[in-house]
């Protein structure tokens, strides 16, 4: 009841609206998209065509959003301590920051280029295109951050610019030319996108030259501009570092309103109960992360719907209705597991409390079970919501199948989360990156995700093999097959938890806690 009252009070706030949006997308949007897809009433091909037509405008808006976000002026704590008091000219400092951040753009471009090549774009064209797109985002963010720092010293000029922009937008809206204005403005960022549509590097060269020139001009402008750079950068960086440290270390307290939410104590269960109770309480009192995971899951499932339709080429006979529903269910099952780091209500959030946890009179495997259980419960709940929604709206899956799926999902989630935690304890990392250009972090995350996927698919293959074996032995009884499959997975939970316990026992707080 207290939860409902609080939800009602939070509804008009920004966070509340975001939560409602994510919830609606997950519970109604995705199933409705599935319904449209299987009943031939929808036409996602139109949606995809629209998305392609307005890619340039969308990219421009994205650049503008990046410019508004205060990320451009971020420096790491060591940089603040050592570089800011040092006799380094401001322009060199700006240049250093741009080059440092650009590393990540190049790395990300490599990943994206691989996808581009799979889509038929020549490798060098894809690499150049994505590198310049990401560099443009990085550099424009830096440039606008310096512009804002400069304008902060000149309130009249800032006011004039705001009034000017608002007036132009209002006039364009009144004349019905807002779309046209956006298209024209989008030409400033369009060359970077045009590179990707070229057939060869020679064809792409003019666009590469224009986009590269734009990036260079922004770099020069950023270095050239004056303003209260140091003060603004210092204030923003300190604020961001503080937030990141608190989030990464798990010491991010809830808002006062959420502090009143309580859950009853769990049974002792050799110490696992109180550990799980504490994780559940923290999960309940920090709903932002829940909203984030819901949003990721909803977006992933919605994206899957679009992709399924795109692959079908709007020919609904290519992929049958139930098959589409299963594709969405697959995404619904995978997405919350992949967003585990964002949720992290297990060992991943307790990096700074390992000494306390290790000094408790609770056996490592039992303590691990207490840590893993809440995350498993949450992930399963999100999956169950989505699957039930798809089943209700599409009518292409019967309820016995839904129940069987959930019976398999619970131990499956447990095993995957246990494997994730084992991996984390063996090679620990901070779940919140201190520096967006931190390649070590990016590499570890990529490795962790790969290992997670490998463990997930190995387990799935094993379970399917057992299920098929049971199907064969029982001469086609699906019930027996599902029972055998989930039994194998439930049994697998024991060694998975023990392995996490082993990893917890060998975790050394003097050596393994990353900075």
């Amino acid at each position: 009841m207290a939860m409902a009252r609080l939800a009602w009070r939070k509804l008009p706030t920004r966070g509340g609206l975001l939560a409602v949006g994510a919830g609606l997308l997950l519970v109604v949007g995705v199933p409705y998209a599935a319904y449209l897809s299987v009943t031939k009433e929808g036409n996602f091909a139109t949606t995809i065509t629209l998305m392609r037509s307005y890619a340039a405008e969308a990219f421009f808006v994205f650049v503008m959003l990046g410019a508004i976000a205060p990320r451009g002026l971020y420096y790491r704590p060591a940089e603040l301590a050592l570089l800011f008091p040092a006799p380094i000219p401001r322009r060199q400092l700006v240049l250093y920051n741009i080059v440092w951040r650009a590393r990540m753009s190049v790395l990300s471009a490599l990943w994206l280029a691989m996808l581009g090549v799979m889509g038929g774009t020549p490798v060098l064209v894809a690499l150049a295109g994505y590198t310049l797109i990401l560099l443009l985002l990085q550099v424009s963010s830096q440039c606008f951050a310096v512009v804002r720092a400069r304008l902060a010293e000149r309130p009249r000029a800032a006011y004039g610019i705001k009034v000017g922009v608002a007036s132009v937008l209002a006039i364009a809206a009144l004349l019905g030319g807002l779309g046209g204005l956006l298209s024209r403005l989008a030409w400033t960022t369009r060359p970077a996108l045009e590179i990707l549509s070229a057939d060869s590097l020679i064809d792409a060269f003019p666009w590469i030259a224009i986009a590269g020139g734009t990036v260079a001009a922004l770099v020069v402008a950023t270095c050239w501009m004056d303003g209260a750079y140091h003060e603004t950068a210092l204030a923003r960086s300190l604020d961001r570092s503080r937030r990141k440290k608190r989030r990464g270390g798990g010491s991010y307290g809830p808002g006062a309103r959420f502090a009143t939410l309580k859950i009853p104590s769990f049974p002792y269960l050799r110490g696992a109960g109180p550990i799980a109770w504490r994780q559940c309480t923290e999960l309940l009192r920090n709903p932002r992360r829940i909203v984030l995971v819901l949003a990721v899951v909803a977006a992933a499932a919605f994206g899957a719907m679009l992709l399924v339709q795109l692959e079908a080429g709007n020919d609904l006979t290519t992929i049958t209705g139930p098959m589409r529903a299963w594709v969405v269910i697959f995404v619904l099952c995978i997405a919350p597991l992949l967003s585990g780091d964002s949720l992290g209500y297990d060992f991943r959030r307790d990096l700074d409390r390992m000494a306390t946890l290790k000094s408790l009179p609770v056996a490592p495997a039992v303590l691990s079970a207490g840590q893993i259980a809440p995350a498993t419960m949450f992930v399963t709940t999100v999956q169950a919501l989505g699957i039930c929604g798809v089943a209700v709206f599409t009518d292409s899956i019967d309820y016995a199948t839904v129940l069987a799926t959930l019976a398999v999902l619970i131990p499956m989630n447990w095993c995957v989360i246990a494997a994730e935690n084992t991996l984390f304890l063996v090679a620990p990392y901070r779940t919140v990156v201190d520096d967006p250009g931190d390649m070590t972090f990016a590499g570890r995350l990529a490795l962790a995700t790969t290992l997670k996927m490998v463990s997930l698919f190995t387990l799935a293959l094993l379970a399917i093999a057992v299920g098929l074996g049971a199907l064969h032995l029982t001469h086609g009884s699906p019930g027996a097959s599902v029972a055998a499959l989930s039994m194998v997975l439930f049994v697998a939970c024991v060694p998975a938890t023990r392995t996490a316990g082993w990893a917890f026992r060998r975790f050394d707080t003097g050596r393994d806690v990353p900075v």
């Binding site: 991010y252 809830p254 002792y268 504490r278 000494a355 306390t356 408790l360 009179p361």
Partner: protein, 257 residues
């Protein structure tokens, strides 16, 4: 009671603690002092079962930490150097969690008395993320004391405490020692430690330099003047004083012979 026997901790080729042996009897408060990197925190964490020793054994209230870790841990409490609490829980919920984990039944009166003793009663329903470092330090201590441990380990407990907070903490620790707990306290604030502790252990580079009461340490260092402070003894011991005094005493013994 705490018995430490030949405790060693290696990190790769670095030896953090070397063959450390000592004991703390019921009612004793041992001050663990040493320069930065001496191995104080590593020693405390090995005794608490947080770090696994490379060699050696620890016995807490008669239980071998390696053989019966859960029984040993039920009789000890560690207050780490960083008061990292569970950010979304209140002070009272921390005490509830501690009580349940250490299987303390009917814990509420004891918890209320502890909050009173540590001057936290009016904050009992506050989320710990809202508290200052000193307050969180006190909450850590309250959680540690709730199950009435036979061995109490405090790692730099005075950092972040104001003078009143220090006095409160000293009184609480002294009371537990008087009730029969064996206490080990590490700190750099030698003047404060000197007032509270009944004996001292000086570490340097993971090695035990000196161990005993202040008078015994002064005797070992051949400092016979009255009123010599722990700080003076510390510098004598850690900055070459031990070797110099040993040589001086050998020379004195040789000349008198």
């Amino acid at each position: 009671m705490i018995y430490v026997d030949s405790l060693v901790k290696h990190y790769g080729e670095v030896t953090a603690v070397q063959k450390l042996s000592f004991s703390v009897e019921a009612g004793q408060i041992l001050g663990l002092v040493g320069p930065n990197g001496a191995g104080k925190t590593t020693t405390l964490r090995m005794i608490a079962g947080v770090h696994t020793p490379s060699h050696g054994a620890v016995t807490i209230s008669g239980y071998d930490l390696a053989e019966r870790p859960l029984d040993a841990k039920k009789h000890l409490a560690l207050v780490p150097d960083q008061p990292e609490l569970f950010a979304s829980l209140t002070i009272w919920e921390h005490l509830e969690l501690s009580a349940r984990l250490y299987e303390v039944y009917k814990w509420q009166p004891a918890a209320a008395a502890l909050l009173e003793e540590l001057e936290l009663t009016d904050k009992r329903d506050n989320i710990v993320a809202e508290l200052s470092r000193g307050m969180r330090q006190k909450v850590m201590l309250a959680c540690a004391l709730l199950h009435e441990p036979g061995a109490l380990l405090l790692d730099e407990p005075l950092v972040g405490l104001d003078p009143r907070g220090m006095r409160t903490l000293f009184a609480a620790v002294k009371r537990r020692a008087d009730d029969g707990a064996a206490v080990i306290l590490s700190s750099h604030l030698l003047g404060q430690v000197e007032q509270l502790c009944t004996c001292f252990l000086i570490l340097r580079n993971g090695e035990l330099l000196l161990h005993g009461t202040k008078a015994e340490i002064a005797e070992q260092l051949a400092r016979r003047e009255d009123g010599v402070s722990l700080e003076q003894l510390f510098f004598d011991a850690t900055e070459g004083g031990v070797e110099a005094d040993t040589e001086r005493r050998s020379e004195q013994a040789a000349s008198s012979a």
